[in-house]
């Protein structure tokens, strides 16, 4: 399958709105017949619909139905059957209900397994594949929530902060391997089904298409960190730098 001039893009969490927009965007950039897409997601029916869509748009699509958020699904050779992987996007996750996570240990354990443990395991598999290939680029979708613990969402944020620390370590580990890139993506508010219940949506909200285009540009440029849309970098810079005694008076 992976002939000359064909790139392989692996998507973990292909059903997410950002992943769908990203696959379409990359396909549009690369042109017909030049992209091999490996879509992995939990929901097989939905995966099949997205595979049909992306095939019609010109990709060579393979799919695998995997419960990505279950750490037990990540075996040492989980990615080896796909052959060479040039590019990857890890886009699955679940928005944690903070109050429930404070009260229910089982729920919190599951949330951390999905948003941190399993994601960390998949990311290490990618690191292994890229190290063996000598090249590879992956974008890992984190969140601005990981930048500072806030009373309203620190358990979601803690999992995302864990990913940030892992990616900082990977950047260090591959500092002398410029062809291996791990990009931490920190989207702000994105208008997706995961956030459909939040109304109304103001000027800070971005579309998955905008986020996907930003990710593609940052990954192509070899960047290690991306806030999208760009102004979140400034917002989070302020939030991180507010002294604790001031911050603790807010209800952020």
């Amino acid at each position: 399958m992976s002939g000359a001039g064909t790139k392989t893009l692996l998507i973990l969490g292909a059903g997410s709105a950002i992943a769908r927009a990203y696959a379409r965007h990359r396909l549009d950039e690369e042109g017909e017949g030049t992209l091999r897409l490996i879509l992995i997601a939990r929901d097989g029916e939905r995966l099949a619909a997205d595979a049909t869509d992306l095939t019609a748009r010109g990709a060579a699509v393979e799919t695998a139905t995997v419960d990505l958020g279950d750490p037990a699904s990540v075996t040492a050779d989980a990615l080896s059957r796909f052959g060479r992987i040039d590019e990857a996007l890890l886009a699955y996750g679940t928005l944690t209900d903070q109050a429930r996570a404070q009260d229910e240990p089982d729920y919190l354990a599951h949330q951390l397994a999905v948003n941190f443990t399993s994601a960390a395991l998949w990311t290490e598999r990618l690191a292994t594949v890229f190290a063996a290939q000598g090249a590879g680029r992956a974008a890992i979708v984190g969140s601005v929530a990981g930048d500072r613990g806030r009373q309203s969402n620190y358990l979601y944020g803690a999992a995302k902060a864990g990913m940030a620390t892992q990616l900082a370590g990977l950047a260090h580990r591959f500092a002398d391997r410029p062809d291996i890139v791990f990009l931490l993506v920190r989207p702000g508010f994105v208008d997706t089904p995961m956030t459909a219940h939040i109304q109304p949506k103001g000027a800070l909200w971005a579309t998955p298409e905008k986020v996907a285009a930003d990710i593609a540009r940052a990954l192509a440029g070899g960047r290690r960190s991306l806030y999208t849309p760009w102004f979140w970098r400034g917002i989070m810079g302020i939030i991180r730098s507010v002294p604790g005694f001031v911050f603790h008076r807010t209800r952020l």
Binding site: A17, R20, D28, G31, E32, R46, A49, D50, T52, D53, A56, R57, G58, D191, T192, P193, A196, Q199, P200, K201
Partner: protein
Amino acid sequence: MSVTGWGRVIRPGHDVTTPDRRDAGRLAASPSGPLTLHGQGRSYGDTAINEGGTVLRTGRLDRFLAADWETGVIRAQAGLTIDALLRVCVPRGWFVPVTPGTKHVSLGGAVASDVHGKNHHHVGAFGAHVRALGLVRSDREAQVLRPGDPLFALTVSGLGLTGLIDWVEIQLIPIASDRMIVENIPHDDLDHFMALSEESADWPYVVAWVDCLAKGDALGRGVFTRGRHARNPGPLTPHPPEPRLAWPFRTPGALLNRHSVGMFNALYRRRPGARFDGMQHYAPFFHPLDGIARWNLMYGSGGFYQHQCIIPRPAAREGVSALLETVARAGQGSFLAVMKSHGAERSPGALTFCLDEPGVTLALDFANRGPSTYALVTELDAIAHDHGGRMYPAKDATMSQTIFTRTYPRWEELEAARDPVIHSHFWRRVTGIAA
């Protein structure tokens, strides 16, 4: 979330939902009142808005379900836009059979408004090219409709009232190149326009821009454009994904007056491209305004009215003269007056805009200045009606109940076939039927 028509005159409050997958089974009623289906929001008036109810946006229901690039038959969810479709099909040598003046419409919207394009006189409206469609309703199981089914005729041009259009299957047309062969001919008056329309009957794409502030002998002058797809093999490059220009903000009302419009119109007719003959990419030919994102903000904070009517050929000269004279007298001229000669309708749609006889359609837009603009547009409604014509629901924001029910006599069939949970601001306005 603010959802409006493209004209932005009517801005009601409603709940908005944007599903990215359709749950199997029947269309669910919304808890907060009637449901309106909303594609890309390019209908100018109120066909896709729903004061006090819920708006279901189809923008994320946009997957291809099947595509045969050998035959050019594609089936896609109704939220797919012509914009997205062209990005995919042009490189493979296919083009949409009908496109309106913007490519930012969904397939579902194109069916529901039964849109037409510059090739109406050759191929009819969009509905004539639909091979099948899937319909989901609240009161029965999902069904497949094909030409000949009574519900097919009521869904094409049915303004989204017969149910959620789940998917649309259309036949694309083959192209050898992304280029168009185009001739632009300035015309001096209405008779000249009519003569050019006759003379251009062999050209598949025809349209004219009209200087609607011209009076007297110059009434109806403008630039006549005709084009066809280049037959020689050439590049198959789709339009660029993002417009490079965007209208930055709502234009202050003081800048839009008869002088600025008059200046625009005079310059437009004299601009270097006004006599352009030659090859051009399809994007500026079909979708000139798509090059400027959010151009509707040009009309300022009050929004604008679009008025499009069609008048049967025998009364067309007199009717169009009366319309243009009224506009010129009011001095509320528009930048974007567009005139086109239509053929006899070839669409299965029961409430399709175009007539079953040849006619002339005129589209005008007016910055909303309040009651005076409303009065002007309703006067135009009356003039068109007096000349045997009717207005286009996808653009309308003013038409009276009397005019609608007289000029769309099959409206009662549509009402009978309407899904019980679906309604719209437009339908309440033109039929008087409450939610």
